[in-house]
Each structure stands twice: as structure tokens, then as C-alpha cells.
Symmetry: C2
Subunit: 346 residues, 2 copies
DNA sequence: CTGAAAGCGCTTACAG
DNA sequence: CTGAAAGCGCTTACAG
């Protein structure tokens, strides 16, 4: 008991607590008990005398006392907060994953701290470390940094879970099998008679992009009669829009966007140019974001439930925090959703 | 200096720090200096002897020491974290606002903690208080709780900024002028000859919905010759889809969705029913989410830059934290974006 | 059932 | 320039 409220007030400037700002010491003094007892009452320990507990609760109400989570975190050694780091908060795919993580983390009593690396791989390690220092664990979505950097980072930020990064590292992973997905999409298009298909590549170094390459290579071997073209593009509507003329110039009858955003950009560009989809050109995406079914024409795409991916990432992380053993990456196989943006080739 | 690392390890179970887990005490011991000196070096205070500082830095690197943000927060009395509370993380409008807040908060050295009230007004106050206790301040988007509850909550969670809630309370506010927006949209439709228009209402109790009512009332007085119908709906694609038949049954020539999601749901339902938009029916939305321009037909809507709303909310909150005075709510006037989903009435 | 004390990992006025 | 000490606001083994 080293100082009353007034004395404390003047000690440090710039306190950022609510104006009520009562501390456990204030409550203890007002109720005439020790801080330990207040703590016990606040935490519902049954060993407190009923009358005393009641008195403490009354004082708590009067003073509007709320325990400081920061102090609790320091004392307990955990924050009940988890970090989610994504390359771009403006990307609906990451928004869905975030939503899924938040839902399940909240159900488990955790809050979510978000961070956005703005698609800057060099900033990722420092960002992840910073977020990790404020939280009990982190979920990192689609990190763009290279394998060595990631490997060096991991031990510094455990526990960590990885989404869409499937190198065999010491961390639980949930991955969308993009390679199998793009292969299935190709088979669908080939089955409809397409013989020249252009794939709009995603961000360089992204895990999904590497997986696509593997899928495309497999299809190339499976179907030597089919010409698979690749074009550098990206992951946004605008990038899809910008690459349209180039894609068109390949003479392909079908365009596979790296994701739905890219495909939607392509659709928009096609409309601008008077190219009729799917009559003149088939266009497909990847992810099945909520708007894929609303585009004109409705977009054929590979569907993966990204909210569930987020929930799964949380569960994997939670298991890790409890010290449970891994049993390999959790793989989501995308499923084909045929809609109206694809026509057979005569 | 009360214990070495080994001793500490056994004191409490369940530490959630990275395995490196060095503390300032470990560094101080290894470098043969006091913790104060380590702290000074870490914080770049220029008063430390160069040789000593260098020695400390070397030890820091060797041990992989990173200061605990939790301990810093407790000591400094601030977390450099701001909370953002939204009714639904799955709603693109809130995602955009979140994105804007995150961008500007990050630039100012703050991290963002998100929370989702799952459109449950009763849970909002407790949620906001909880988030506030982990952060230095909060931004609350479109709170659904009633005015009295909000008024009672505010003093407990200062500093707080409000988005889309324009009661004159003691908190900086940034609001979208939905009333003026819907009025402008109505005038646009009326100018094109529409005489019976149905408005699909948003969530009961939402600020935007109340503002819409005021706008619709004003239009009703301005244009007694026009029939304005209202239908309870909501704020999601599915709710827009579900209310379509009812809206159609009103015999209106134009439907105003509470937001773009609702309007997109309406568009989808129209397609399902074989109703041609805009030929048979005009449909408009509100917000101009990124997908509004990509729908079929492209959606006429009222545009508001929600990322900028988020950025503005952050700046308003930042000003408040610095103790600056308010000069009234910051109002965003939505602007009409005519696209392809509206036709004149013959 | 209750309290004094130590501890969580930092920061910073204060004294040298 | 540097360190001992006090403090941030909690929790909990320990002793009574």
C-alpha cells in the first residue's frame, strides 16, 4: 500500500485508462480488505466469505472497477490475444480467413490483433515478431518471404500457425491444395474442348503460385495436346483488368485468373472491349468469394471455404498451444463450381 | 536480481513467450550492467557510454532478446494498440473501414485489435469494454445499441470514436450522411420518371437506417406525387435475395437496397426469376463496394470511400487522445455513381 | 477464509 | 554516465 489515488495521479503523465480508472488497490482500500481478496472475488474463487465478497462487489460497482488486462497479462503470462498477419487486408480472401479465425478465437475467449504487411515481403519478419510480442501466438497467412527467412523466423515466434505455406516446417499448417485445384479446373476446360488456355500468374513467391505451377506442369504432361500459356499478373481486380489485352493476344479460348478478383477484372475488361464471355472467351477464377456468383456472367471457379480455413487455422494453433502433436498439414481440396462464364469450344 | 532463468522457469507454468524468452534481467546479467542501462540502450537513449552500449547490443543479439510489450505497456501506461469493433466482420463495408483504420493506425505506430459483435446489440457494451481494457482507445462502427445504453457506456470507455452514429455525444464522430444520400438517389430515380419506389430497410436501430428514414420523409414532402414504399429487409445479400418477391409485389419500378449487398441479392433474385434489370426493374444500392461495378448489370449506387472513413476515424481518435477539441462530426456526403442498373420509366 | 509478500518484465526519477 | 529502487496493476503460493 504505497500510495493513494491522488498521489498516483501525479506520478506519471498520459495515463490512457478510462476516466473511472479505479485500480485493485482502490477497491481494496474502499472495501477494507486486501488486494488478494479483491482478486479472488473478481475471479470467482469460492473460498471468499459471502459477506465480504458481497461488500467487495458493491465497491466494485460503485467505483466502476475493471481489472487491467495489461496487468493481468503480465501476471498470468498470457494475453488471451492472437495475432493474424495477412499480406493485404483489402483482399476478400484474407478478410474471410480473418473472419473465420476471429469467430473461433472469440469463442475460445481470445481476441484478434490484425496486421497487414502491404504485400512487402521484406517487412514481414519484423511485423510478425512485433505482433507476436503482443500476443500469445500468431497465424500468418500466405507469407511471401523466402524459405530461409521463414525458417530463421519460426523459432523466434512460436507458437505460430501457417496458412497457405506448405513447406515442411515446425509449425501447424493449413493449406489449400491449389495445385490440385488448378489441375481440376484445367481438366474441366479441356473436357469442354479448350486447347489453348492462359493462366494469369499470382504474386511472385506466393505459395499458391508455386502450387499452381506444379498443377499446370502436371496437366502439361497429362495433356500434351493442350497449350498452356502463362502470363505474369497478380492478385487484384486492377491487375486482371490490365493484363486482359495481353491475355487475349495469346489466342487462348480460356483464361484462368489467379483468383476471383483477377478473373473479375478480366470480366470487366472483356465487357469494356466488347468481348462476350463466355461466347467469345471463357473466364474462370479461384476461391469462390461471395461475389463470384454475382458477376456477369456468374463466375466459374474453384471453391474453398476460407472462413473454415481460418477456423481450422485457429484450431491447429490452439492444439499447438496446448502442446499437442501435429499430424501433418490440414489440406483443403478446392471443388469446382461450374457457373456461367465457361462455354464449350465448338 | 531475485533469480536466474532456471529458477524463474519453474515458478509458473504455461509461459507463452518464444522459446528464446530472454528478459531484460538476463541481458543485464550477461552484459554485466544494470537493467536500467539495458533499457536505455534498447530505447536509444544517447546517454550511454558507447562501449557499454555496444556490449549490451551484442548480448541482445546473442540472446535474441526482445522486450516484452506487455511489460512495456504496463510500465508506460499505454499499449499502442487501438480497438475496432464492428457489427459484422463479414460485411465488406466494415472490412473497408477496418482496412482504412489499420493503414493509418499502423503508420502512427499503433496496432489494431478487431472484434465482431455478430450483430448482437446486447453484447456490444461488454465487448467494447473488454476491447477497451486491452487497448488505448477504441473505434466503434455502427453500434446498434440504443441511445441510453450508448450514453451510459461512453464515459467508461474513453477515448472512443464513433463511426456512423451521429447523436451529439461526447466523442468524435465520423458519419456518412445516409439521409442526404438516399434523398439524392430518390431524386435521381424520380428525375427518370419513377413514381413508385421501394426502399429495403436496413437493420433495425442502425444509425444509417434512421438517417434513411429522415431522407425518405424529406423526399415524401418534396414529391407528394411519388409513392415511397418501405420493406423490412437487412444488410446482407441473402436478405436482399429473400425479400425480392415481396418488393416486386409492391408494383414499384425501382428498388433501393439498404446497401450494395442487399441490392446485389436483389439482382441475383431478379436473374433467378427472369426479371430483366434495368429493363423491367431498376435496382440501386448504397456504399459502392468494390464489386458494385462488376455486377450484372453494373450497380448504380451512392459512393462513399469507406477506407477514407476509417482513416478519418483514426485521425479523429488520435486528435482526441492528444486532448484536442472537437469541431463537430466529420460528415461524408455520398456521391451518386450512375451505372447500368437503372432505366428511365417510359 | 484472509493477508503480506513476492513476482510478472519493463521504465524512469533520483542520487551519485 | 550508471545503478538501486520504486512503481505500473495484477495473481497466487504460502503461512496463518
Amino acid at each position: 500500500m504505497t500510495g493513494g489515488a491522488a498521489e498516483r495521479m501525479t506520478r506519471r503523465p498520459g495515463r490512457m485508462r478510462p476516466s473511472s480508472g479505479a485500480t485493485i488497490t482502490d477497491v481494496a482500500q474502499a472495501a477494507g480488505v486486501s488486494r488478494a481478496t479483491v482478486s479472488r472475488v473478481m475471479n470467482g474463487r469460492p473460498t471468499v466469505d459471502a459477506a465480504i465478497a458481497e461488500r467487495v462487489r458493491r465497491v466494485v460497482d460503485e467505483l466502476g472497477y475493471k481489472p487491467s488486462r495489461v496487468a493481468q497479462s503480465l501476471s498470468l503470462g498470457r494475453t488471451s490475444t492472437v495475432g493474424v498477419i495477412v499480406p493485404d487486408l483489402g483482399n476478400p480472401s484474407f478478410q474471410q480467413i480473418l473472419h473465420g479465425v476471429n469467430r473461433s478465437a472469440a469463442a475460445a475467449g481470445y481476441r484478434v490483433l490484425v496486421a497487414d504487411s502491404a504485400e512487402t515481403p521484406d517487412d514481414e519478419p519484423a511485423l510478425i515478431e512485433d505482433v507476436r510480442r503482443r500476443t500469445d501466438a500468431v497465424i500468418v497467412c500466405s507469407p511471401r518471404m523466402n524459405a530461409d527467412t521463414l525458417a530463421a523466423l519460426l523459432p523466434r515466434v512460436q507458437p505460430i500457425a501457417l496458412v497457405n505455406r506448405d513447406e515442411p516446417v515446425d509449425a501447424p499448417r493449413v493449406v489449400v491444395d491449389s495445385g490440385a485445384g488448378v489441375a481440376e479446373m484445367c481438366r474441366h476446360l479441356i473436357g469442354l474442348g479448350h486447347r489453348r488456355i492462359v493462366h494469369l500468374d499470382g504474386p511472385v513467391g506466393s505459395n499458391a503460385q508455386a502450387a499452381r505451377l506444379r498443377g499446370l506442369t502436371a496437366i502439361g504432361e497429362e495433356h500434351p495436346e493442350v497449350e498452356l500459356v502463362r502470363l505474369p499478373c497478380g492478385s487484384t481486380i486492377d491487375e486482371g483488368h490490365a493484363v486482359f489485352d495481353q491475355a487475349r493476344a495469346t489466342g487462348s479460348t480460356a483464361i484462368i485468373g489467379f483468383n476471383d478478383l483477377v478473373a473479375l477484372g478480366v470480366l470487366e475488361a472483356a465487357r469494356d472491349r466488347g468481348v462476350r464471355v463466355p461466347r467469345d472467351l471463357s473466364v474462370v477464377g479461384f476461391d469462390d468469394i461471395p461475389f463470384a456468383r454475382l458477376s456477369s456472367p456468374a463466375l466459374t471457379t474453384m471453391s474453398v471455404d476460407l472462413e473454415e480455413v481460418g477456423e481450422t487455422a485457429w484450431r491447429a494453433l490452439e492444439a499447438r498451444m496446448k502442446g499437442e502433436e501435429e499430424d501433418g498439414p490440414r489440406v483443403f481440396a478446392p471443388v469446382l463450381v461450374p457457373r456461367a462464364s465457361v462455354d464449350p469450344v465448338a
